[in-house]
Every structure is written in structure tokens, then in C-alpha cells.
Symmetry: none
Subunit: 412 residues, 2 copies
């Protein structure tokens, strides 16, 4: 028995007036998602708890079965290990954004117009040459996908108790990084970060790539915003927890990092970019193939979230329909007599507020031994009538693992 958990990032939404008060998921044509619902058991799920908007990091830990409220140790380290950097004990890592600010450091765009990978890579090379005054601290900076980047600080006496420079909205000034407790470590870490941020800004402002971007009428990537100071979470690998061999098919660094922290193997898929241009089908094929030699595949698509943060619900419908095609390929190519397939999302991202929201998400599980219910459509409202009722994010993995016979009895 095997299991596939398929996540379309930020796929759930709230009703939208222009869609006749449907959500994008309700409005989309999604025969394969509906087939999972129709042949399976459905429900709604609070990734963390009702009303609490989940960050993608905490939500992914929950989807892997961990109690995120207990084990969460910041986004940065997950993002860094997911991008291929090594994060050691004692390192403090950050998720960064290439962003556009004006001369007063007011944020104009938190994603520098969703800068292309090539430009970000060139800028990164120059940033890597910056020198810190305190030579006993090293930094490692790498860009990942589009505007996304990671920063690792390595050295003695560092702390995660520092605030973000990313204000997480536009039209306001970049935040100064401040210590969040009174320890000398926090003070020192904040100082180093402020110094680095400032030096990065100076490099980026005069960089030829940005001059060229201005000529091409693109937003300059003239600032590096940091957030989510973190260390590697202290979690038990899935192999130990459930005795399974699990693999991850994802492009987003954060998701790859969480899966790696859970001891899963990462499968690199050509054409999987973590953007709306990603190759859905290549990921579907990789998933089917990976299932041969493994017990569990965690398949993640980022595209649905990216368009939600841009407020583009028409595009979101299109991404959901592409995602549906991917689910269809998997349904057609996996033996559902010996495999379970679960479909869900890591959070609601509202195209209206353009933020993660605390509304529950739909979830459906199909496979040979589920208690099939009478839900026939996969969406936020129909799934709320399903046989799973309302569960927590951290419940899904044990449910799946139990279906494939991999959970341990509690008690004797």
C-alpha cells in the first residue's frame, strides 16, 4: 500500500463577487478533483487552528504530520536547506525577497516584479562578495526561484530572536531589524543583519542588472528583505515515525526544506519551477514514477498561491484547472487498488485580501478502504459536508499512514 499527498499551495479561497460569489475552486472546471471527492472521503481542515492564517512553513510541517505549534522553529532554515544550503546547529537562517524600494526605503513591490531567475542569479553573485565587519561571522546568500532567496548566518553567539525587515506590505518603510529579547546574541544578530542589508542595498542600487531592468521598464531589485529567522526544527524523520520511504516532488525551496527536515528524499523534476509556468505534467510523471520504489510521495505545486497573492482570480482558476489535469494523470496512472491519494492545500489565500487567511481548506482522500461519503465535488463548501468533518492539518498524515498500515497503536 502506498500514498500520495497532493498539495496545491493556497488553492482555497473566499467567495468572490465577480465569480457570482463562488470561490475560484468552485468556479473551476475540475473533473479529476471531483473524481477524488466522489470516490473518496472529504472534509475541511484547519492547518493550525480555526481562524489562524498559517504560514506556508508551519502549514507544510502540519501536512507532514508534525504539531507545528510545538516544533516550529522559523521559516529561514527550512527555506535554506530546501535550496540546497547546509544549515548547521547554531546557524540562523532567513527567507529573503528581492524587493523594490524608493529612495526613502518605502517598499514599492515586495517581489521586484517577480524578477526572473536569471536576473536574480546575476545580482546574487555580486551580493555574495559583500564583506561583514565582524569577520568571525560568515554569511551565505543564495537566490532560489524568482524573487525568493535565502540567507544563512554562521558563527558563534547568534540568535533567532530578531524582527523581520520585511514589513509584508507595500507603501510602508522597510523595518529596521531589532532584537526581540535582551540577550547580547539578539542584539549582535540584529546589528549584523542591518549592516548586511545596508551593504546589499548599496550594491544593488548601482548594479548593471538593475540599470538594464529600468531600461526594460521592469521594477529594480534594489533591496533584500529578510524574514523568518530560524533554526533547523527538531523533528523525527518520517522513516522513524511511520517506517516509510518518502519522497518529495516540489520546486518551492521552503517545501523542499520541510520535506528534507522530515528525512525525505527530494526529486528534482526538469521543468518544475515553482511558478505558474511550471510543468505540471512533468511533476505528475515524476510522482507516478517515484511511487514505484517508495511508500509515500508528497507532491506540491506552488502556482496556485502565487497568482492568489497577486489577486488574479481568473488566473487562479486556470492554475486550478492545470492542477486538475495533473491530478487526472496521477489518477489514471496509479493503481488505486493499492494506493491512496489525498488532495488538499496548505492554506486559504484570498484573492481579495491577497493574504493567507484562517478559513479551513477542503481535503479529499480516495483509495480502496476509505469510508466513501456522498460528496461529489471538491471545493471549500461541498467538502464541509463530507465524512471527515473538520480535522486539523496534523491529523491528515496519520489518517493516510493508517490507511496504508503504517501507524502504531497508541496503547496496548
Amino acid at each position: 500500500m502506498k500514498a500520495v499527498l497532493i498539495i496545491a499551495d493556497g488553492m482555497a479561497d473566499r467567495p468572490i463577487k465577480e465569480l457570482n460569489w463562488k470561490t475560484p475552486l468552485e468556479a473551476a472546471h475540475k473533473p479529476s478533483l471531483n473524481k477524488v471527492a466522489k470516490t473518496g472521503i472529504c472534509g475541511i481542515m484547519d492547518l493550525i487552528s480555526p481562524g489562524i492564517p498559517p504560514g506556508s512553513d508551519a502549514a507544510t510541517l502540519a501536512l507532514l504530520g508534525y504539531d507545528a505549534v510545538k516544533v516550529y522553529s522559523g521559516r529561514g532554515a527550512l527555506e535554506a536547506i530546501g535550496s540546497g544550503l547546509e544549515v548547521l546547529a547554531g546557524d540562523v537562517a532567513f527567507r529573503c525577497n528581492f524587493a523594490t524600494v524608493d529612495e526613502k526605503l518605502v517598499v514599492l513591490d515586495r517581489r521586484a516584479g517577480r524578477i526572473a531567475n536569471e536576473d536574480a542569479t546575476k545580482l546574487t553573485k555580486s551580493l555574495q562578495k559583500v564583506k561583514l565587519e565582524k569577520s568571525q561571522v560568515k554569511f551565505i546568500f543564495n537566490s532560489t526561484i524568482q524573487h525568493r532567496a535565502v540567507l544563512v548566518l554562521r558563527g558563534l553567539k547568534l540568535s533567532t530572536a530578531v524582527s523581520d525587515s520585511d514589513p509584508e506590505k507595500v507603501g510602508v518603510k522597510v523595518s529596521e531589524i531589532k532584537p526581540l529579547d535582551k540577550s547580547p546574541e539578539a542584539k549582535r544578530t540584529a546589528q549584523i543583519l542591518n549592516e548586511l542589508t545596508d551593504k546589499f542595498h548599496k550594491v544593488l542600487e548601482v548594479h548593471p542588472v538593475n540599470k538594464e531592468r529600468i531600461r526594460r521598464r521592469l521594477l529594480e531589485a534594489n533591496f533584500i528583505l529578510c524574514r523568518g529567522a530560524g533554526t533547523v526544527p527538531n523533528i523525527k524523520p518520517l522513516s522513524e515515525e511511520y517506517g516509510i520511504k518518502g519522497v518529495c516532488v516540489a520546486a518551492a525551496a521552503l517545501v523542499k526544506g520541510a520535506c528534507k527536515a522530515a528525512g525525505m528524499k527530494l526529486i528534482n523534476v526538469k521543468g518544475a519551477t515553482g511558478t505558474p509556468q511550471t510543468s505540471f505534467m512533468a511533476k505528475a510523471e515524476a510522482t507516478v514514477q517515484a511511487l514505484g520504489a517508495n511508500d509515500f510521495v508528497f507532491l506540491h505545486v506552488k502556482a496556485t498561491d502565487a497568482v492568489s497573492h497577486d489577486g488574479d482570480f481568473e488566473q487562479k482558476i486556470r492554475m486550478i484547472e492545470k492542477f486538475d489535469g495533473m491530478v487526472g494523470y496521477i489518477l489514471d496512472n496509479v493503481d488505486l487498488g493499492s494506493a491512496y491519494l489525498a488532495v488538499t492545500t496548505d492554506h486559504t489565500t484570498s484573492c481579495i485580501t491577497r493574504n493567507h487567511e484562517g478559513d479551513p481548506v477542503p481535503v479529499a482522500i480516495t483509495g480502496p478502504q476509505v469510508r466513501r461519503d456522498d460528496v461529489g465535488e471538491f471545493d471549500e463548501r461541498t467538502c464541509s459536508k463530507g465524512g471527515l468533518n473538520r480535522i486539523r492539518g496534523m491529523d491528515l498524515m496519520p489518517i493516510l499512514m493508517n490507511l496504508i498500515g503504517k501507524t502504531k497503536k497508541f496503547g496496548a
Copy 2:
């Protein structure tokens, strides 16, 4: 975006034979409550956890979003601060009842025939003159509404680890107050309370107000029952938790106290009495007005609970219908394009058992961005089919705050 949370105390009930096995809420004519359900998202809610009958104090803390199981520190202090008394760190406060006992101290009525405010006030003046033997401990005693009163003990070496004198039923003897642990503080506090109870009884027995009550064929208020030893709970104000300005429209001291402990402003409404004779409309008007300058209004009506404890389900239906009119006024006078309105109750009070019960309560939320479901009636059974499914009391506030954009993301 603003939010109103409207509570009809003890409104939920169990099926009643004389109502053709409907609950009072199912039997009532309630067009406005049904409108909230029809235009909103519905569900059922366990204030504490399934099957556990919530005290009004713990339930109100849960409704304000707190984990009552963790923060609950007794009823007394909430009741006392709600009645306008100051409760300091180290003080131990009690909820008290004017009650009727016979010569053997058997409780005949726990509410002295729901004694009128004027009589209680006169009796209180005499009780305040009682002197304690241990002069280093002071007491403050005040009546609030009808039979309700509060007592605060102030001094060093006091403890909340004392039992109640209120047996919470009639036909049995008043309970002796006993220490609940082996500390000298608990022993001392119990001694002081027993002394005070005894002295109060001696004053009340011969009081002219009681002689007059006997002439008027009313029950004597000849005993003060104490319960719910408590200190002020250690909770984060709503302003810090959600960054909101919240106000409370309530008459019941306990509810006012919980809201005050949560850092909310109390609005005094003329004609709001906490009894079935309260002015529902004055409260509705105060709520609409308060919403202008605030983010959140907590509106509470006690009348529905009072009649339930008396087992009067016909009267309960009438109270629910009055409450419905109040909700109607708010629906008509609040802009539902920019406000969310939630309606619920703090617990089930059974007209048959005349007690708080552990059955879940119905809840409905309406407003611009809710995932409207197909529930069209606001009652215990129909709401159980709604899109919220089954939530906990402490979940409602985060859900509401998320809808108005006031929750913080967990994770990054």
C-alpha cells in the same frame, strides 16, 4: 471592517416534550436569527469541550478567545471587577447569592425568590457593617443584580483553595466551607469565610427588610451563599492580542468582569438590567452606536438563561423572540458590507434539568466574505449541518478576527 458578537445567555436547550420535542429555540419565531443563519455560515460549538457543562465565567473567557482551561482562575474575581469593585493581586473574590434557608440551614431557594435590587441593596448596607475577628483581613461585599452579590477578601495569606458554601441545589444543607489543600492559607481563608457567613446569617435573620418580605409573602433573603473563589485571570488584553478596540454591552457583572479583564471598555446602558425585564432595544441601539468608534462589540443578554434556570420554557421562547427583535435592529442598522455579525450562546441551559448542560450550542456568522452555507434556520439541530461544522468556543474569536483582518499569521 468591524465585528459584533451577540450572546444570548443559556439560549440553547434540549428537546422538550411539551414543545413537541422541539427546543425553545426551534419553537420560537425568530426571523432575524434565521436571516443571520441564511446569509451566513453556521455550525455548532463546544464552549469548553464536548459534554462538559460550561460555567458562564469560563464560557465567556472562551468566547473572548481565551483557552479557558488554561487561564481560568475562578468566577469570583470576574464578578467582582464587573460589579465595579477593584480586585488586587492577592485578593480572593467570591460570587455570592442572597438565598433562603430554613432553621436547619437547608436551602429552600438559591435566589431568595429572585429578590428585587432595592431589597438586596438595603440588606447589603447592613452586611457591610459586620466586623471580622482577624482584623488584618478586610472584606468588601456588594450586591449587583437581584440575588447576585460579590465578596472580596483582602489581606495577606489568603487562598482560593476553599470549597463553596453554595450546594447549587435546593433541599440540602448549606455546605461548610472547607480548605481544599493542606496549606495554612486555605485553612485560614475557610475559617474567615465560615465566620463571615455565620455573622451575615445572624444579621439577615432579624433584618426589617426580611420581616417586611415575610409580610409580603416573599421569600426571606436570610443567607449569603458563596462560590467560585477566584483571583484576576492572567490574560493578554484583546488590544494586544488582535490590535483592536473592543467594547462590552452587558448588564451581568460576570460578563462585564470578563470583558474588563480582557481590557475592553464597558458601556453602561440605561434600562439594561440583566433580567427578563431588560431593555433589549436600548442595548441594540448602544451596540450600533458603539460600533462607530470601535472595532468590536461584545453584546450579552442574560434574560434567556434566567428563565431556563427557572424551567420556564414558554417564557424562554418569549425571551428568544425579544432577543430576535434585538438582532433584527442590529441587522437593519449595521452596514453588512463592512461588518461581521456573529450570534451564539455561552452554553446550553436545559429547562428540564434547570442546569447548564454539555451539549454544543448553535453559532452563525454573517458578513461580506463568509463562505455562506445552505443552513436557513438558527437552531441547535439545523446549525449542526452548517459549513463551520463543530468548533470550540475559543475558536470563534480568532475566526471573527481573521474575517476583519486582525489575526497574526502562525509561521512565515
